[in-house]
């Protein structure tokens, strides 16, 4: 198939970016979106042009490194799919595909399509962990956890931290990410001791990083490749309110 690619090019964080168009012939329908970009880069290299910089790592939908806003959709128009798992058969021959970086003030562009998502790391560093004595692994089932809670915690832990929630949110809010990371630990017995400090610190770091505020549109969950539920946002709202009220009385 033949495609016209309208791609965001930006040589550095302080530089102004703009769109550049490239025509790519002989794209296999079986190639993934990233393989198609590899093909474009080979073509650019042969022509002696700068290849397009984009993020990727596992290419199997589990690491959360790939990004890209494709035709306006974070990770492309397919539901529950990362860009690396998106295939070119989902596009039409002759189509123009617009490719942009994940746009948010908290995700500054590093180069072309690569954005700096270390704000997510800072949120995790401020509470997305439990402080325990490390050592040999505990015996299985030594801490009883209900199936319901274990399932909910697992669903939250499915978040790969790709940032599609921020990119798809009209307000660049990081609530879905933050809430999933907080809920994953808040639902489990091991997470209880630090629960209140966790939500307060993670929300503070989220605010300080320049993310927007949740307006309950639900765009994040619709774009999430792991289908993280809005229930976790409600839970973060609830846990945060409880923690703040306890703070007043202590």
């Amino acid at each position: 198939m033949k495609l016209t690619l309208k791609i965001w090019r930006q040589s550095g964080p302080a530089e102004n970016g703009s769109f550049e168009s490239h025509v790519l012939d002989d794209v296999s329908e079986d190639s993934s979106f990233l393989e198609m970009l590899d093909q474009l880069n080979e073509q650019l290299l042969k022509q002696g042009d700068e290849p397009v910089a984009f993020d990727h790592d596992c290419r199997e939908g589990i690491c959360g490194t790939c990004s890209l806003t494709i035709n306006g959709y974070a990770h492309g128009p397919e539901n529950s799919t990362t860009t690396c798992q998106l295939h070119m058969r989902k596009f039409n021959n002759g189509e123009t595909v617009t490719i942009e970086p994940f746009r948010a003030k908290a995700f500054p562009v590093v180069r072309d399509l690569i954005v700096d998502r270390s704000a997510f790391d800072r949120i995790i560093q401020s509470g997305g962990f439990i402080s325990v004595r490390t050592g040999s692994a505990p015996d299985g089932n030594s801490i009883p956890i209900s199936k319901v809670d274990a399932d909910k915690a697992m669903d939250a832990a499915a978040c790969i931290g790709c940032g599609a929630c921020v990119a798809s949110c009209k307000n660049a809010s990081a609530m879905l990410f933050t809430s999933a990371k907080a809920a994953h630990l808040n639902l489990l017995p091991q997470g209880q001791a630090e629960k209140d400090a966790r939500v307060i610190n993670m929300v503070n770091t989220m605010d300080d990083s320049g993310f927007g505020n949740c307006r309950n549109y639900g765009e994040c969950s619709a774009a999430c490749p792991k289908d993280i539920s809005l229930d976790y946002i409600a839970k973060l709202n609830r846990d945060h309110a409880k923690a703040r009220i306890k703070e007043i009385f202590s």
């Binding site: 009209k170 320049g210 505020n213 309950n216």
Partner: protein, 254 residues
């Protein structure tokens, strides 16, 4: 507590809940216009003669709710603009509808409406003569009270004003259809399983509010244009007489 982004959402949700409760009571009170002059005037009089601390306490509470609600709304909107300085070349929306995306717009028009409405019927600066409208009640007929009924009829006989009220109530309906369900998400009491039901409840509530408020201006205009007699026709006579001298003569004779 309220300085964080979530804190502002709590404030917005709680003040929104206050306003949700208020608009329902206000709408139910207004429906007494349909029961006629005596009923609505007695109701209006009973409100105006509440002990001052209850009357002014409620007024201040409501005013504070609107101010806090609007302040948090605008501060969140400004922060959100800053958080997403560059728009996507292609902007798509997967799930959110018009109602939720335009909360700031419907809210801002509501704010303008609230100011107009207070100047129109409460402070009565737009038509100062509304304050002079009085009527006498009681067995001796010498107890003078404000004639809310005549004021409301006079107010809604203006087509432009009535249309503005109905449009504002439609926007209120849309604002509430998202807001009433959104509140529960913001204070952490919603689950996706409940969201569908809550959206239905919110939508039902919003349309009841729309219908309940709109029926008053609509009925006044309907009667003015001879479609249906909701109220004592003598309140509409002067209007007819200006246009039609014959009917004026007839009225005087009878």
């Amino acid at each position: 507590m309220f300085s964080s982004s979530l804190g502002k959402k709590y404030l917005m949700a709680l003040t929104g809940l206050v306003l949700i409760g208020f608009v329902f009571v206000h709408m139910a009170g207004n429906l007494q216009v349909l029961a006629g002059q005596a009923q609505i005037n007695a109701y209006a009089h009973s409100l105006q003669t509440l002990p001052w601390f209850i009357l002014w306490g409620s007024r201040l509470f409501l005013l504070a709710s609107v101010v806090i609600h609007a302040w948090t709304a605008y501060s969140l909107i400004i922060e959100n603009r800053k958080a997403r300085p560059d728009n996507n070349e292609v902007e798509v929306t997967k799930r959110a509808g018009w109602t939720s995306l335009k909360m700031g717009l419907t809210g801002s028009i509501l704010l303008a409406f609230i100011v107009f409405h207070l100047l129109h019927f409460t402070i009565r600066t737009i038509y100062p003569e509304y304050a002079e409208m009085t009527t006498t009640v009681g067995s001796t007929g010498d107890f003078e009270i404000h004639d809310a009924f005549s004021m409301i009829l006079a107010g809604f006989k203006h087509e432009i004003i009535s249309v503005f009220y109905v449009v504002a109530m439609f926007l209120l309906c849309r604002h509430l259809a998202h807001g009433f369900s959104s509140v529960f998400q913001s204070i952490g009491l919603r689950t996706e399983a409940w969201q569908r039901k809550l959206n239905l409840i919110a939508s039902g509530y919003a349309w009841i509010i729309f219908a309940g408020f709109s029926i008053v201006p609509v009925s006044v205009l309907a009667q003015k244009h001879g479609l249906y007699e909701f109220y004592d026709p003598s309140f509409f006579v002067s209007e007819v007489s200006e246009k039609n001298n014959t009917s004026n003569l007839l009225n005087n004779e009878s």
